[in-house]
Amino acid sequence: SEDVAEYALRLGDDALILAQRLSWWISRAPEIEEDIALGNVALDLLGHARSFLTYAGSAWGKSEDDLAYWRQESEFRSCFLVEQPNGDFGKTIARQLVFSIYQHELYSRLVDSADETLAAIAAKSLKEVDYHRDHAIQWTLRLGDGTEESHRRMQEGLNSVWPYVHELFVDDELIERLPGVAVRPSELRAPFDALLAQVLGEATLEVPDVQPAMTGNRGTRHSEHLGYLLAEMQVVAREHPGATW
């Protein structure tokens, strides 16, 4: 149905935009092992995005590429968090930590969705997210409990992404219309907070005391960053309308 497609679009767009952000690190990471590790995470997320977008597109007769390359900014359904710039490695890890814990809670429940396709994509992706989450946690510990500088940068990274955490857990009408199919974001908040507090505690970091931002709530409004990201992502495809690659 249209609603399921819209829901799949949200899942796909979050994964796509974050993959696009992370892929920038390939050839720029702090060590070669991290070029590979961040590349793996990006590649996994891109895989999730392709599955979700293909499924969403099937409702509208559109391909994954139609959706990725030919939608306008206001037609994307990504959240502010994944649109945030990479910043330094600390901010990237902070964003990964938050997003991968959230996504892990989400996919762990989506595997039981009444929608078989969503459940199957979640099941396939969950193992990967398990690795992403572990990767982010390990780095959070190293940076938080590493040197004074790394501690400071990691905390700043967390503070910087924190305004965009709230949006991940907001229920809305679409979710209400999909009982049994969609996962209720608000249900994920408690387990998210619990694990995050544990990790940050172990990493000698603090849960940020930073206000949430009034975000787009999965609507047509995005952060100011998305436009730049899409301009770059879509430029080659749009120079060649109708071409295949």
């Binding site: 796509l16 696009q20 892929s23 920038w24 390939i26 050839s27 720029r28 990471a29 702090p30 060590e31 070669i32 092992e33 991290e34 070029d35 590979i36 590349g39 793996n40 990006a42 590649l43 891109l46 895989g47 995005a49 392709r50 977008l53 994954e64 590429d65 990725a68 390359y69 330094d88 490695f89 510990l141 190293r142 940076l143 409990d145 590493g146 040197t147 500088e149 790394s150 940068r153 770059e232 992502m233 430029v235 080659v236 495809a237 120079e239 060649h240 109708g242 071409a243 295949t244 690659w245």
Partner: protein, 310 residues
């Protein structure tokens, strides 16, 4: 010396030297230089392709390209490991790259300007690399030969993907076709130069061949490569930018027009379009990552201290 005699016998038998074996200093030095240069080339070689990851025109191609650039990082890692077995630690090799003491393949000093370059790099640059590297799988130094086996397997996969990119473009719109031809035009000569100078300008080759590191001369490999791509370009319906390519029935060799070796040496000396950019990017990544590497060491030290106390 017993060591020298054993070494000579291994070479004579075309068998393998292993890290613990005695080896002449020149052999060790030559191999360290060659393997680490190759490792550096993989790492620097990530840049031109990384340049199109965020702009790849389809999600499938984006995924393939990301995986490819990641593979190059992996190749860099095996090769640094192989070089380390000869006694020089990775940090030191890396430092030689960052300070400009060590070289990397000149081809990566050319810019990647269009999506078609992802095809041309895969087809021509990886193609030339394979022709160069397949014989290295039998190199007399064990760890190098084994690393090459693994690298070559992935490279041939990459080459096929590059060819597919070009094939898709060649069968696409007029603009796509032109983009593909332009990319081939730009990468053809630099790819041929990847085999190194003409044989009479390449004095070190002889010693490498006696040591069973190198198996064929630069020109032999180059001719083989020209023959290969001359056949393949027909499938694309495109052309190579050299109208003098022909198979000489008498010598059994492929011939081609003269290459601009002046340009080759210019790029080698640091004056290519992207030499400065490539090094600046690598140094920047290294410097920006310093605090992260320090944090990881500090954390590891704390953890091992805790483990000892417990």
């Amino acid at each position: 010396q017993a060591g020298q005699a054993y070494f000579d016998k291994i070479i004579a038998d075309d068998s393998r030297i292993e890290p613990a074996d005695w080896m002449p200093e020149g052999y060790r030095k030559t191999l360290t230089r060659q393997i680490s240069q190759h490792a550096h080339s993989e790492i620097i070689g990530m840049q031109p392709e990384a340049n199109f990851i965020t702009r790849a025109p389809s999600l499938k191609r984006k995924a393939i390209l990301m995986a490819k650039v990641q593979d190059e990082a992996g190749h860099g890692l095996y090769l640094y490991s192989a070089a380390e077995t000869l006694g020089t630690p990775r940090e030191e090799l890396f430092d030689q790259l960052l300070t400009g003491k060590a070289k990397y393949s000149s081809i990566f000093n050319y810019p990647a300007l269009t999506w078609a370059d992802m095809g041309a790099i895969g087809w021509l640059v990886d193609g030339a690399a394979i022709v160069n590297q397949v014989p290295l799988c039998r190199a007399s130094y064990g760890p190098y030969g084994r690393a090459m086996v693994r690298v070559c397997k992935e490279e041939s996969f990459h080459q096929r993907q590059g060819f597919e990119i070009l094939l898709e473009l060649a069968n696409g719109t007029e603009a796509q076709k032109q983009m593909a031809q332009d990319a081939i035009n730009r990468f053809y000569a630099p790819a041929l130069m990847m085999f190194g100078p003409n044989d009479d300008e390449s004095p070190n080759s002889q010693q490498s061949m006696r040591w069973n590191i190198k198996r064929f001369s630069n020109d032999e490999l180059r001719q083989r490569f020209v023959g290969m791509i001359q056949e393949q370009v027909k499938v694309l319906g495109l052309t190579l930018p050299d109208d003098q390519i022909r198979f000489n029935e008498e010598t059994g060799k492929w011939e081609y027009g003269e290459l601009d070796w002046n340009e080759f040496y210019e790029v080698l000396k640091g004056r290519g379009p992207c030499n400065a950019q490539r090094m600046e990017r690598r140094r920047e990544a290294h410097e920006n990552g310093a605090w992260v590497r320090e944090a990881a060491s500090a954390y590891a030290a704390k953890q091992s201290q805790k483990a000892q106390v417990a």
